[in-house]
Symmetry: C2
Subunit: 380 residues, 2 copies
C-alpha cells in the first residue's frame, strides 16, 4: 500500500471534514440556510483578503476570474503593462489579446522577476497606461513577485494593479488594502483547500472607478452587477453551492489556525522543502524570492524532470508536476499549499530521495530529511 | 421530525451515492485517473445529448454557458431573434444587449408559447438573422417550447437555433442531431442531479461554422479552444473536478435507467403533479404544453402564492419556489426533475393539501393524492 498524496501546485488536497460537509444534501441558494452561510462567508472573506471591499465569488475557475478582472475594468485599445516571467503571465497576455488591449510587455526569464523600478519606468515611458497585470506567485516558475513594491509604484498613477493571487491567497501575506492592491483574483483549489470551480475577486475603490469606464462586453461575470446582489446578501445567479458550503468550513479552519500562522506554516514548509532539495545536491529554479506555495527544482544534467514526476506517481503514489514550455523536462514542482503539514513535506522529500536513487543518481539517504527536520525544529 | 425535500425548479436533490463519490479525495486533472473519467464522461454525454458532436463541460453555471453560446457564434451588430415568454428569455435579451446584438423580440405572455410560424415569418421579414435564441423548458412559467418545430424552421435558413436546455436536458426528449438543433446549453444542477457549477455546451457543424465568423471577445469560454483540448481528452483549464466525478456517477445512473425511461418518468411525475393540483381545484399556469421539469400552479383568488411557498418550507420542510416578476405572488412552482421519484410527488401533493388547508382554503383531503395515484397506476 502506498498512501496517495496530492502535492501538485494545485489542485490541492481537500480536508475530509470539508469533503464531508460538501457531501451533505444540497441546499437551495434562496433558502434561509444559504442566507446565513453567505453572510458568514462574505465577512470571513474580507478578513482573508484583508480588505474592506466585497469579495465576490463567481462560479468559475481562476482563469475566468482573470478574464473578469480585465473585462470589467478596461476597454478595447487601452494600454496595459503585463509583467511576464512565466506561463500564467502568458495567460494575462492571451486575455489582453482576446480583448484587443494594447500590451506593454515587461519580460524576465523564467525563474526571475521584474523589479518595481522597471514598472515605474514603463509607466513613465507610456503615459495613459490603465492597468498593470501581474502574478503574485507565478506557479509555473515558483517565484513570488514583489507586488507590494509594484503597488507603491501604481499607487501614484492612474493605473490599477491587477494581481493574480490564485496560488498565493491564504498562502503568502497579501494585505490588499494596506498594500494598495486594486484587483485581487483568486480561486478555490489552492490555498483554500477546496475543489476547483469557485473564484474570488475583490476590487479597490480605484478599480471600481475604472469599472465604471469599462466598455468591454460581459454578462455572467459582470462584477458591478454581482456586487449589487452580494451587498443584499443575495446570489445573482445559481452559485456553486457545494463549494460555498466547503468554503465556510475552510474559512473557519483558517481562522482557527490564524492567518498569521497560516502564512508562517507555508513559509516553513517551503523553507524545509528547499533545504531538503538543496541538501540532496539539487539546484532551486527561482533566482529570486521563491514562492511559499511551491518549490521548483532543477534536475541534475542527464536527468529528465518528467521522469522524476512519473516516478513520484508510479513508485510512490504522489502527484507532483513538471515544467511547462521552456522548462519542460528541466524542472519539477512540488506544491505545499493549503492542507499540507510538516510531515507531508517529509514524505515528499523521502520520495524525492528514493526517486533520485531509482533514476541512478547518487543519494545520501536522509540528507534531505535531516535538512527539513532542522527547519521544523526551529518552531518556537 | 420533518424530512427535508428539495423540490424547487433547481437546484435539485443530489443522490447520496453521488455526494459520496464527490467526497472522495480530489484527483488531479492531469493524472491517469482523470483521463479515464473524462473519456467515459465525454462519450456518455454524447449519448445524453443525442449528438455526434463534442459536449463541452466548462466550469460555470448555466448563465455562463448561455453567454458562451452567444459570444462564440455571433458578432456585434448581428441580428438575432429571441423568443420571449418568460424570465429566462429575458436573460437571453440581457446577454444580447451586453454584446451589442440587434434583437428582434417575439413575445408571448408568460404561460404561453410562440408558434413556429411566427419565427418563420420573422425570419422572412428580417433577412440576415444569424440566430434564434429560445428556451426549451422555460422554468419561470413551466412551459415547454416546441423547439423541434423551431428547428424545422431554422434548418432551411442561415440562422442557427440556440436552445437553453438547462431545465430540459435529461428531462424531456431533445435529440440534438435528429431535430437539427445547433447549440444546446445546459447545466449540472437540474436533470443531471448534481451541484451547480458545471455547464454543458454542444454545437452543430453549422454552429461551429458560425463560430468561425464570430468576432465577439472571449477567452475563458472560448469554445473552439475548449474543443481542441477536449478532442485530445485534455482539460484546457482546471476543470470542476469534483462535479466531473459526480457527473460520471449520474451518467451511469441515467444509462442504467435508460434515457427513454428517464423521459417517461419525468412525464409521469409531471402528469401526476398536474392531475393532483387540478383535483384540488387549482388552475395550472401554462396555457400550452407544460414542461415535464416543473409544474407552475395559479393560486385561488385571495391567496398569496408566496405564502404557499413559505408554508411548504416552514410547516413541511419542503423547498418549492414562487413566481418572478409579473407572476410574483400569483403562482408557485414545484420542481420534479432529476433525482425525483413517484412518491416524492405524493409527498409534495400531501404537503399542498395541508398548506391549502392551513391557509383557510376548502380542501378535500386525499383528492390530490388520489388523482396522482391513478396516474402512477397506469405504469405498464
Amino acid at each position: 500500500m502506498k498512501k496517495y498524496q496530492l502535492m501538485a501546485p494545485g489542485p490541492t488536497p481537500v480536508p475530509s471534514e470539508v469533503l464531508l460537509a460538501m457531501a451533505r444534501p444540497i441546499i437551495h441558494h434562496r433558502a434561509p440556510e444559504y442566507d446565513a452561510l453567505f453572510r458568514e462567508v462574505r465577512e470571513a472573506l474580507k478578513r482573508l483578503v484583508q480588505t474592506r471591499e466585497d469579495v465576490l465569488t463567481p462560479a468559475c475557475t481562476g482563469t475566468g476570474a482573470m478574464e473578469a478582472a480585465v473585462s470589467n475594468t478596461l476597454s478595447a485599445g487601452d494600454r496595459v503593462i503585463v509583467v511576464n516571467a512565466g506561463a500564467f503571465a502568458q495567460r494575462w497576455l492571451a486575455i489582453c489579446k482576446a480583448y484587443g488591449l494594447n500590451v506593454v510587455e515587461l519580460e524576465a526569464p523564467h525563474g526571475e522577476t521584474v523589479a518595481a523600478a522597471r514598472i515605474a519606468e514603463a509607466l513613465r515611458a507610456n503615459p495613459g497606461v490603465k492597468a498593470v497585470l501581474v502574478q503574485h506567485s507565478e506557479s509555473s516558475t515558483g517565484v513570488l513577485h514583489d507586488v507590494r513594491a509594484y503597488a507603491q509604484v501604481t499607487g501614484g498613477t492612474e493605473a490599477i494593479l491587477i494581481v493574480d493571487a490564485v496560488s498565493s491567497l491564504g498562502i503568502a501575506d497579501l494585505p490588499m488594502d494596506a498594500w494598495g492592491i486594486d484587483v485581487i483574483v483568486s480561486a478555490s483549489q489552492k490555498g483554500l483547500m477546496l475543489p476547483p470551480g469557485l473564484s474570488l475577486l475583490a476590487l479597490s475603490e480605484k478599480a471600481w472607478g475604472a469599472a465604471k469606464q469599462s466598455k468591454l462586453p460581459k454578462y455572467y461575470l459582470d462584477l458591478a452587477e454581482e456586487r449589487k446582489y452580494a451587498q443584499r446578501n443575495e446570489a445573482r445567479f445559481t452559485p456553486a453551492v457545494s463549494i460555498m458550503v466547503g468554503l465556510r468550513e475552510v474559512l473557519r479552519m483558517i481562522e482557527a489556525e490564524g492567518l498569521v500562522e497560516v502564512f508562517r506554516r507555508h513559509d516553513r514548509l517551503s523553507r524545509a522543502t528547499r533545504a531538503g532539495a538543496e541538501a540532496l545536491g539539487l539546484t532551486l529554479f527561482p533566482k529570486t524570492t521563491p514562492s511559499p506555495a511551491l518549490t521548483a527544482v532543477q534536475v541534475p544534467p542527464g536527468v529528465d524532470a518528467d521522469r522524476v514526476v512519473e516516478r513520484f506517481a508510479t513508485s510512490h503514489n504522489i502527484t507532483i508536476d513538471g515544467g511547462r514550455g521552456p522548462t519542460k523536462g528541466k524542472i519539477f514542482r512540488i506544491g505545499h499549499m493549503g492542507y499540507v503539514a510538516d510531515f507531508d513535506v517529509i514524505s515528499a522529500l523521502a520520495a524525492l530521495e528514493q526517486v533520485l536513487y531509482e533514476l541512478g543518481q547518487p543519494v545520501d539517504f536522509g540528507a534531505g530529511l535531516r535538512a527539513a527536520q532542522k527547519i521544523f525544529s526551529e518552531r518556537s
